[in-house]
Structures are given as structure tokens and as C-alpha cells.
């Protein structure tokens, strides 16, 4: 799957999303759960703002000195016997990986979830030469079995499917005969994938954070699939976006803590693993050969621009989990492997404005994303900057441009918090308000309000509202 997940037009995708009630129910309930867990996990720390500031400072320092840290990483990986390949383009990266696999005469490949391998379209390149590539993250596996249905969320890729749909897919494709209980569906997959882990020739992983000082690769999962992918096959290939690294173990642990709390509201996930080089002499498990592929694929052209801060991203999806637009339209509407606010900023930068010019408008500029971001990326500012570029330089404002600008424009300075965890500017929305709901929204809101009334922003802050709700107070 490349960056682009659909050839349908933006409006058609949104329409399809809005009319898929199954998906919309699944998305809103998942959003609420993930968002609630995250709030609990960050509130219990009591000084979350200090954590965010530290995360931001570490990420900014690494980006400003990226060449230094990449050099240090490469040297240390190589010292431990690893093979490092720097790839400027998606084609170079997947070409290299393909060559490694062909040289090994490998047949079966197991993979753990990795957005960057989606981005470089790796599976298609490998399947095209007849290789058996098995995704081992449960969510990714479900999508793969369902004829490569695209992911709709970067942490929970199959979030748009309910358990009955998954049972039907398994019944048809895997001869599954049990019920739709998640335990039974999962146990079935465990049995199938255990055999794949044990028989695979090559394991491919992404990389949550590489550690420059030791040449280590940090992997974060709950399932433990990345550990089996790297423990059992003889060859390990790790693919990392070039900005995904930290100076030392000290910063690694800080960013892992930010990631796990922000992504799933856990203090740590079940499995966090730091792998350094191939297996040591005498080791029985772990790979005999370790390749690290460091991918640019358009990232370097973001450096030094007003969009540089987007490269601070640690792929936690907290912004997606609070976004009111994502909630309404679902992940597939974005037409990119990166949905939600981060996708609306990143996709046009990595994939170009031609394909993704609508995405910066799929936002209310409510700033909930910015507030949720654990490394303080000013996401809503970057969305507005995209709109400026699209209008001024690219001369291709998509739709309702004037309306959207008028309604949400630069007056978004002191936003009020929005009813379900997002923020919006009540003054900007007031021309469209009828009572407590918005019936004719501007720009991107228009499509939703055609099918439903959109609740109007309240004056109470979200945190106050949330606390009141817990005390049994008025839920609005």
C-alpha cells in the first residue's frame, strides 16, 4: 500500500464514510475509549506539560542535528555487525530489501506493523515477485486477510471493522468456524501465526525509536509480535523513517513513556524491546544478519521549512483520537495511510498537494490535535499554513475556501474546548448556529451537517466537563 489508499475523489470518500454507520459507530466508540484512557494516563502524572516540553525539546534537538545522530547511529550499528543502507527514495528502499530477500532465497517473510513500510509500498513489491509476506500485528493481519483493506488508524489499523465483519472475513478466507468473540478470533490467529513465525526466513520490522549512542532499535508492542519477528527468522530487516531516533537510552525511555501513554493510555506497553545488532556469538535465537534501512522518502525536503516540526511526530495517534473530523468521516476518507490531523499535515508533504490538497481542509482548526500532541507539534497551525500554500503558491484552493477561511480564520487565538474533546471557536461558529447545534456548517463541515446536526461548541473547557462528568455532573 503506498501513501495513497484510494483513487476515489475526496468528496466521494467522505460521502462513503458518512454513510457507513457501522464504521462511524466503531470509530466514535474507539475514539472515546482511547481518548479517555489517555487522559487518565496523563492526568495521573500531574505534570504532563513538563513531559510534553521535554519531549518537544528532545525531538527538536535531534532534528536540528539529524546528520550527527544518524551518523552516530550508523557507526554503532555497524560496530555491532549490522548492515546499514540509507535510502533516499521509496524505490531505493524497497529495491534494497527485495535484493536482500532474493539473495537469501527466502520464501516466507513475517512482518510487524510498520507505517514506513506501508509508505514505501513494500508488501506489493515483495508479493510481485511471488513472496509470502505475513503481517503479524492482529489488526494488520485482519486487513491483509480481507484482501488488503487499507488501514484506517495508525495504531489500531482495523478499527473500522466490527467483530461480526471480522468473523465473516475469517470464515470466508480462513475456514473459521467459531463465534465472533474477540478471544476466539484471536486464538485462531495465534495458532496460524505461530507456525509462520517458526517457519519464516526473514523478519521485517519498523522502528519506534533508534538509539544513536548504542546503535539499538527500539520496538514497542502489546502483542509481542515484533519480538517473535526478530527472534526466530535468520535475517532481520528493520526499516526506519530517518527522523525516528533519539540520542541515548535516557531519551528513549522518555519518548517511549510519552508514546505509550498517548497512544493507548498505558504506563508502558507489554513489550518494549531494544535490539542491538544481530545475535551475539553463541546466541541461539535472534537474527544471524541484521539490516537497517533508513528512509528519507521526502522527509529531508520538510527540514528547514515552516513544516519542520511535523517531523517531531512519534506516531502515537493522540491527535487522531481527539479529532472531530476523523470521528465523523473515519480514516479511509483521508485516502492516505496517515489519516487524521497528522495525516492531513504529513500526507501533502510526503505525497504532494496534487493527491492530498483537500486534507488540510478536513479540519475545523479547533486545535484539539495540538493540545493532545505529546511532543507539541502545532498541528492546527501547520494545517493553516498548508491552506496558505495551497491558495497562494499552488493556486488550487479546493472547495468552499472563502467560507472556511472566513469561519475559522486567524481568529482561532483563544479557542474554547469542544464538547467531545475538541476545541472550536464559538464566535467563528456562531453565524451557523441554531440553538445548540450547527445545521449548516461551512467548508468541510458542510458534508457532515448535510446528514446530521453538529453539536455547537460549549463554553466549558473539556477538562472541566470531563471532571464534572466523572462527578456525575451535567454531561454537556
Amino acid at each position: 500500500m503506498a501513501m495513497k489508499t484510494s483513487s476515489a475523489k475526496f468528496k466521494e470518500r467522505v460521502d462513503e464514510g458518512l454513510h457507513n454507520d457501522f464504521m462511524r459507530m466503531a470509530v466514535s466508540s474507539a475514539q472515546e475509549r482511547l481518548h479517555g484512557r489517555r487522559l487518565t494516563a496523563v492526568d495521573e502524572l500531574g505534570n504532563w506539560e513538563d513531559w510534553r516540553s521535554l519531549g518537544q525539546e528532545i525531538r527538536q534537538h535531534v532534528l536540528a542535528n539529524l546528520d550527527f545522530y544518524l551518523h552516530q547511529l550508523a557507526e554503532n550499528v555497524s560496530k555491532r555487525g549490522g548492515l546499514v543502507f540509507f535510502a533516499e527514495t521509496a524505490e531505493e528502499a524497497s529495491g534494497y530489501i527485495k535484493d536482500v530477500i532474493v539473495n537469501k532465497k527466502a520464501k516466507k517473510i513475517v512482518k510487524s506493523k510498520s507505517m514506513v513500510t506501508e509508505e514505501i509500498n513494500l508488501n506489493a513489491a515483495l508479493e510481485a515477485i511471488g513472496l509470502d509476506v505475513v503481517e503479524t500485528d492482529l489488526g494488520e493481519y485482519i486487513l491483509q486477510v480481507d484482501d488488503h483493506d487499507p488501514p484506517s488508524h495508525i495504531v489500531a489499523p482495523a478499527l473500522h471493522k466490527n467483530k461480526e465483519q471480522i468473523r465473516e472475513v475469517f470464515k470466508e478466507k480462513l475456514g473459521y468456524t467459531q463465534t465472533e468473540k474477540p478471544e476466539e478470533l484471536t486464538a485462531h490467529v495465534r495458532g496460524i501465526l505461530r507456525k509462520d513465525f517458526l517457519s519464516a526466513d526473514v523478519g521485517i520490522t519498523g522502528c519506534n525509536f533508534a538509539i544513536a549512542e548504542t546503535g539499538s532499535i527500539g520496538l514497542v508492542t502489546n502483542e509481542g509480535n515484533a519480538d517473535l519477528v526478530t527472534a526466530l527468522p535468520k535475517t532481520q530487516i528493520t526499516v526506519m523513517g530517518m527522523e525516528r531516533l533519539v540520542p541515548t537510552f535516557d531519551e528513549f525511555e522518555v519518548l517511549v513513556s510519552l508514546l505509550t501513554r498517548s497512544a493507548v493510555g498505558q504506563r508502558l506497553t507489554s513489550y518494549i524491546t531494544a535490539l542491538t545488532g544481530p545475535r551475539d556469538e553463541g546466541d541461539v535465537d535472534g537474527p544471524e544478519e541484521f539490516h537497517l534501512v533508513i528512509v528519507d522518502n521526502g522527509r529531508s525536503s520538510i527540514l528547514g521549512t515552516e513544516f519542520q516540526s511535523v517531523l517531531q511526530c512519534i506516531r502515537c495517534a493522540a491527535c487522531i483520537n481527539v479529532c472531530p473530523v476523523y470521528r465523523q468521516v473515519g480514516g479511509h476518507s483521508y485516502g492516505s495511510i496517515y489519516p487524521g490531523p497528522i495525516g492531513a499535515v504529513l500526507s501533502p508533504l510526503l505525497g504532494g498537494y496534487d493527491d492530498f490538497k483537500e486534507l488540510p481542509y478536513a479540519s475545523t482548526l479547533c486545535a484539539a490535535c495540538t493540545e493532545a500532541c505529546p511532543v507539541k507539534i502545532p498541528l492546527h497551525d501547520l494545517l493553516r499554513k498548508h491552506r496558505e500554500v495551497i491558495v497562494e503558491k499552488e493556486k488550487m484552493a479546493p472547495f468552499s475556501e472563502k467560507m472556511a477561511m472566513k469561519a475559522f480564520g486567524i481568529g482561532a487565538a483563544s479557542p474554547m474546548l469542544y464538547k467531545f474533546g475538541s476545541k472550536m471557536v464559538p464566535s467563528a461558529m456562531s453565524p451557523f448556529k441554531t440553538g445548540d447545534s450547527i445545521s449548516k456548517g461551512p467548508g468541510p463541515l458542510k458534508s457532515w451537517t448535510e446528514s446530521r446536526e453538529f453539536p455547537a461548541p460549549g463554553k466549558e473547557s473539556f477538562r472541566d466537563w470531563f471532571k464534572n462528568r466523572e462527578k456525575g455532573g451535567n454531561p454537556s
Binding site: 474507539a30 544518524l70 555487525g81 549490522g82 517458526l198 502489546n222 502483542e223 509481542g224 527472534a231
Partner: protein, 233 residues
């Protein structure tokens, strides 16, 4: 064996060009970060309070918790093994099993001790084992996490392939959080020690919420996790 590096020069040159400066590959030192909230967590906690925190957190990560002392550890481990349905067991080659006088117990059970000279057989044994038993090197109270250093005597498969994972936690290994574990690893690095090729931070059993955000425990790794904290002698 030293590895290789391809295409580095042009790749880094491109980065530096976009950053608007010449390539830098040396001379950067770590700044002193303005905030250090990670050092505040459980900062004042006594060893007993750390045990309490660990116990509390175990409830949240679906992990059974036991507290015992060195005279009772054998008895307690036996109970745990029986509750989990007995062997086959797999353990690393680790002197601490003798130190805690567990050898007799493990001999009675169907126990395989990791033996790097036996090669692939180790993995087959781990795959068939009901329980893998490890000692935690460092234990993080905040998150209920055990830290394992893998090596030729301590295969990665021991904590991943069996249906259950039992970790024995000497009380002195308990620290507030990952911050202290990271610092300990860094001090190894600064002493010039080679860090293990695989360091695991394991928190409870394997799980997933990929189907309708419902938590399912036991996906690819162990379905059950048990921690046994042992008071120091």
C-alpha cells in the same frame, strides 16, 4: 564482525543542505534538558512502597503477584507451577536458580535448561514448554515491568514462546521506573561494556485490543504472567 554502511555521505549531505548548514558528524553534545519530570516519579518511595506500587500496578496489567522470602520461594514457586498446570518448563542457564535453592524443585519437574550448544533444539523446547521462568534484572514499579538481558545462556524464546511466563523478582532489583533502568544501561555503556543484543522490558502477558478495542490477553506471547517478589536475604 564489523558491518557496512551504504549511501551515507550523499544522504547526510542532503539533510545538511536542507538544514542550511554544512554536514555535522561530530562535536554535538547532549544539552541539559530544561525539564526532567521523569525523575520525579516515585522519587521518595521506600523499597516497601515500591513493592506496593508494583503490586497495585500488577492488577492493571493482568499479572498475578506474589510476595515471599528466600526460605519460602521454593514452596511458592512450586504452587505457582502447579496452578499453571505444571511442565514442561524452560529456564535460562542462570546461577540464581541454585542460589535460591530451586534446583531440586526444577529437577522434579520436566525442566529444560537453555543450552546454547544444543542450537535449534532450545527453540523447539521453548515452543513446547508450558512455562518459561526468568529472573528479572531490573524491575520497574511504576509500570510492573521486568527487564531481561538475553544472551547465549538466556534465549529470547524463553519469555515469548511458552504459554506462561513466571518471573522471579529479587526485591533489590525494584526501581521506580524505566528512567533508572535506562540510566543503568547507560552506565554500562560509559564503562565500555557491550550491552546485550536483546533487552526486553516486559509488562504482563501478551495482549491486543485490535478487535473493537476489547482487550484480549494472550496474542502471540504468553497468555499468563506471574511475578514472584523475593525479599532479599
Amino acid at each position: 564482525m564489523k558491518g557496512t554502511i551504504h549511501n551515507e555521505e550523499s544522504f547526510l549531505a542532503n539533510i545538511a543542505k536542507n538544514l542550511g548548514r554544512p554536514v555535522i558528524i561530530e562535536g554535538i553534545s547532549l544539552p541539559v534538558w530544561k525539564n526532567s519530570p521523569q525523575r520525579e516519579v516515585l522519587k521518595q518511595a521506600t523499597p516497601n512502597e515500591l513493592v506496593e506500587e508494583l503490586q497495585e500496578q500488577c492488577k492493571r496489567v493482568h499479572t498475578e503477584f506474589h510476595l515471599t522470602d528466600s526460605t519460602q520461594v521454593k514452596h511458592r514457586l512450586n504452587q505457582v507451577i502447579e496452578q499453571l498446570g505444571n511442565g514442561p518448563l524452560i529456564i535460562p542457564k542462570d546461577d540464581r536458580f541454585s542460589e535460591y535453592e530451586l534446583d531440586d524443585l526444577l529437577l522434579e519437574k520436566d525442566t529444560f535448561v537453555w543450552d546454547h550448544q544444543a542450537g535449534r533444539k532450545n527453540i523447539e523446547k521453548a515452543e513446547r514448554a508450558n512455562i518459561g521462568i526468568t529472573f528479572s534484572e531490573m524491575t520497574l514499579a511504576e509500570s510492573a515491568t521486568v527487564v531481561l538481558f538475553n544472551s547465549k545462556d538466556h534465549g529470547r524464546s524463553i519469555s515469548f514462546l511458552p504459554s506462561c511466563h513466571v518471573s522471579i523478582i529479587p526485591k533489590s532489583t525494584i526501581v521506580p521506573r524505566m528512567t533508572q533502568a535506562a540510566a543503568a544501561i547507560r552506565s554500562k555503556v560509559s564503562r565500555g561494556e557491550v550491552i546485550p543484543s536483546c533487552i526486553n522490558f516486559i509488562t504482563g502477558p501478551s495482549n491486543s485490543a485490535d478487535i473493537e478495542m476489547d482487550l484480549v490477553v494472550g496474542v502471540h506471547g504468553p497468555i499468563k504472567a506471574v511475578y514472584i517478589v523475593v525479599e532479599d536475604k
